[in-house]
């Protein structure tokens, strides 16, 4: 059992928790993920590590309440326990040789982008961060990004805060103005990562995307998290849990990944409603 040491609501749909898991805290690096189960009968869900405190033995996770399991997790209080917490899984984000980086985060993806930005900042790289949200209510981690970025651009889709528009707008402006980066790292909805990749393509800047497909074991056993890379015109199957979650954006078949991500859409929506009703009934 793993204790929830601290819990904080970042916005009405996004929650941050610090979980006591000393072995994971000691090892986890930015870009890696964990898998958890809330209770004995629960499903396994992957969440990317949003930070660690090795001295305290805690791992920070940030999640959006989207389905039955995240609703159940969000119902847990500070001091309570979750059943299983395993990691760190996946390959850490590559930082070698990157002196100037642009981090592009969208929505709850910013929670994963933040430790990556912090890591580059710690390594002395020049960090530009572009973070986007649907509206002001959903904004998270602005202060944290400001602290680790040489330059920060905040965008909202509806213009309710900061600049109006999506994250590709300032990225394109920078690239068109002749700015270069050693790497663009983008983390967020698949559709956003696809368009960030397309925006960068004419300028030849390398793009790393962080994939978050449906997973079960997360250790390279079930193959559910497979995705297709197009390498030299050939379609190659990769597994996000052991080969990723970071991939070269130019190689990823985003449309396929988006389709696969919706496999259990109806099931998830039903589970979410059921869980919410159950939780309401309990109060």
């Amino acid at each position: 059992m793993y204790q929830i040491l601290r819990k904080k609501e970042l916005n009405p749909t996004v929650t941050q928790m610090e979980i006591v898991a000393p072995l994971v805290a000691r090892k986890a690096k930015p870009g890696q993920f964990i898998i958890l189960r809330v209770n004995e009968e629960g499903e396994r869900i992957p969440l990317t590590v949003a930070g660690t405190n090795p001295a305290e033995g805690t791992v920070k996770i940030i999640f959006q309440i989207v389905g039955g399991t995240t609703a159940l997790l969000n119902a847990k209080k500070e001091g309570e326990y979750i059943q299983d917490f395993v990691g760190p899984l996946g390959v850490a984000t590559h930082t070698d040789g990157i002196k100037k980086v642009c981090i592009v985060g969208g929505g709850v993806g910013c929670a994963i982008a933040m430790p990556v930005a912090q890591e580059f900042h710690r390594l002395g790289a020049e960090v530009t961060s572009i973070i986007g949200f649907r509206s002001k209510d959903l904004l998270i981690l602005e202060d944290e990004f400001r602290a680790c970025s040489d330059r920060l651009v905040v965008m909202t889709d509806d213009g309710s805060y900061a600049r109006h528009g999506n994250v590709t707008v300032p990225l394109k402006e920078m690239l068109e103005a002749g700015e270069t980066f050693d790497m663009i790292i983008t983390i967020g909805p698949l559709i956003m990562m696809k368009f960030v990749t397309l925006a960068a393509k004419p300028f030849g800047v390398p793009v790393t995307v962080s994939m978050n497909p449906i997973m079960i074991d997360g250790t390279g056993m079930c193959g559910g998290c497979r995705l297709t890379l197009i390498q030299d015109g050939k379609r190659v199957t990769k597994f996000a849990c052991v080969d990723g979650p970071d991939f070269n954006g130019y190689e990823v078949d985003f449309d396929e990944a988006m389709s696969r991500g919706r496999m259990y859409f109806d099931f998830e929506r039903h589970a979410y409603e059921e869980t919410c009703n159950l939780l309401k009934g309990g109060n």
């Binding site: 009968e41 079960i216 390279g220 193959g223 559910g224």
Partner: protein, 469 residues
């Protein structure tokens, strides 16, 4: 008394009843049948059955006990050699091991050794209240990677010798393939849990949620005071066919399909982990895993389940008993057929159509058997122009696995072969001092009992290594 030429039939659930539930298919002998079956054993001098057993159970000795109704005595003899008797009695391919060597089998049907083993183990689990004797500690610590058949066996053998054994398991439950792969109707999970409890009673620690290679490395295990490590990390990533359409929704690897149903309990009525149920299902492959997947699909409510296999019934690698069970339950075997493409739904008018990207069919080609290959197996060759489409909603691919890369990539000096399997010598020792390995991590996908045999060999190797230190 004349010897009954046939072994006593295993009482089983009726095929058409069991095809709709997840309860165990085989119900087990009664005490009367067990004694009668035991009496068929000739207790011959040269004991060929013992050589046929990968863990060398003293088979005639335990059967002699059963002849007199001393089932606990029989269990005690089995448990000297096997850490998992109730499991082996159910899933071992006895027909190609102990029973294939049985002297009685020359003239008649062999003794039902597996069924007797199962009876003794179940009898013990039901009746015995005695706690096992804790072995005298010998002061040495050994780490086991993976709580599957090889790891549990290795742990059991070492614990009985007094070693302090810790098993590190990546998943949330111990058992490995016994819990994620083999379905409830063939091996109830309560039996696996009971066998694991038995090991814990011997002083074995089981740490779940630890991925060796990630959470801890093998080098760190040595730093933590473990003097030897056994790697039984099991099968790895599933193989796919590399044909178009394998990413459509509704295409599963057998590992994923079975893990969702078994480990994550998606077979229950209101599951928290989803799985596609109902419709028409094609399972590609002819091994035991393919049989398990097909029979699971049927029980999940499929209208029709096909097994698509590129060779003929004769080459089908699954156990005969499993194939017979599958046929009785109504699985449709499409032999000498091979998939060439998975078909999916695409509505060009509406890219947001929720049906887009779901499987609609499996295009296959008919095959014929050509010249024998290097192993003497006749190679299947496609018949030009014979393509056709099976109308299905779900495709499960059960064509094997490749070893997991996690340990190899984080352990310096651990040599692997061209298939990624860890290289070991006849004692189970790898290229690293003090590191032993066995099971699917070494051989690639194989049987539970061969993994157990490898765990046993390694336990002996580790004991000799640490005692000789």
């Amino acid at each position: 008394m004349a010897i009954n030429p046939k072994k006593h039939e295993m009482p089983s659930q009726e095929p058409l009843v069991r095809a709709h539930n997840f309860n165990e298919v085989a119900l087990g002998y009664t005490a009367e049948i067990a004694v009668e079956e035991a009496q068929r054993c000739l207790n011959c001098k040269n004991r060929p059955c013992v050589q046929g057993c990968p863990v060398n159970i003293a088979i005639p000795d335990f059967i002699s006990k059963m002849k007199t109704g001393d089932f606990e005595g029989a269990y005690q003899i089995i448990s000297q050699s096997s850490a998992l008797p109730a499991v082996c009695g159910r899933v071992c391919p006895q027909e190609s091991q102990c029973e294939s060597k049985c002297t009685l089998g020359i003239k008649f049907e062999p003794v039902g050794i597996g069924r007797l083993e199962r009876f003794a183990a179940d009898w013990h689990n039901e009746h015995s209240t005695e706690a096992p004797k804790m072995p005298e500690p010998n002061g040495h610590k050994v780490a086991i990677v993976g709580a599957g058949p090889s790891g549990l066996t290795c742990a059991g053998d070492l614990a009985r010798k007094g070693y302090k054994v810790s098993i590190f398991e990546a998943l949330h439950t111990a058992g490995g393939v016994l819990v994620y792969g083999i379905p409830e109707f063939r091996l109830p999970k309560a039996i696996v849990a009971k066998e694991v409890e038995g090991l814990k009673a011997l002083g074995v620690d089981v740490e779940t949620n630890v991925v060796i290679g990630k959470t801890l490395t093998i080098d760190e295990l040595f730093e933590d005071g473990y003097e030897a490590v056994f790697v039984g990390s099991g099968a790895g990533l599933p193989n796919f066919m590399n044909i178009p359409g394998e990413s459509y929704k509704g295409v599963y690897s057998a590992n994923e399909f079975l893990t969702r149903s078994n480990l994550m309990k998606a077979y229950k009525d209101d599951p928290v982990t989803p799985i596609m149920k109902g419709g028409k299902v094609a399972v590609v492959g002819g091994g035991n895993v393919a049989m398990d997947a097909a029979r699971t699909a049927l029980r999940l409510g499929a209208e029709h389940v096909y097994i698509v296999y590129r060779r003929s019934m004769e080459e089908l690698p699954a156990r005969k008993e499993e194939v017979e069970h599958a046929i009785e339950e109504g699985i449709d075997f499409r032999l000498l057929q091979n998939p060439v493409e998975v078909l999916g739904y695409n509505n060009p008018e509406n890219p947001r159509d929720p049906k887009n990207g779901f499987v609609t069919g499996l295009r296959c080609i008919k095959m014929e058997l050509g010249e024998p290959d290097a192993k003497g197996r006749r190679r299947p060759v496609p018949i030009p122009g014979s393509e056709f489409v099976l109308d299905v909603d779900t495709v499960v691919i059960a064509i094997g696995t490749s070893p997991n890369p996690l340990i190899k990539s984080t352990t310096k000096g651990l040599e692997v072969n061209s298939h990624g399997g860890i290289i070991v010598n006849e004692e189970g020792l790898t290229s690293r001092q003090g590191v032993y390995a066995g099971g699917d991590a070494v051989t690639g996908a194989a049987t539970v009992i061969s993994a157990m045999g490898a765990g046993k060999v390694a336990a002996k190797g580790i004991d000799e290594y640490l005692m000789g230190k």
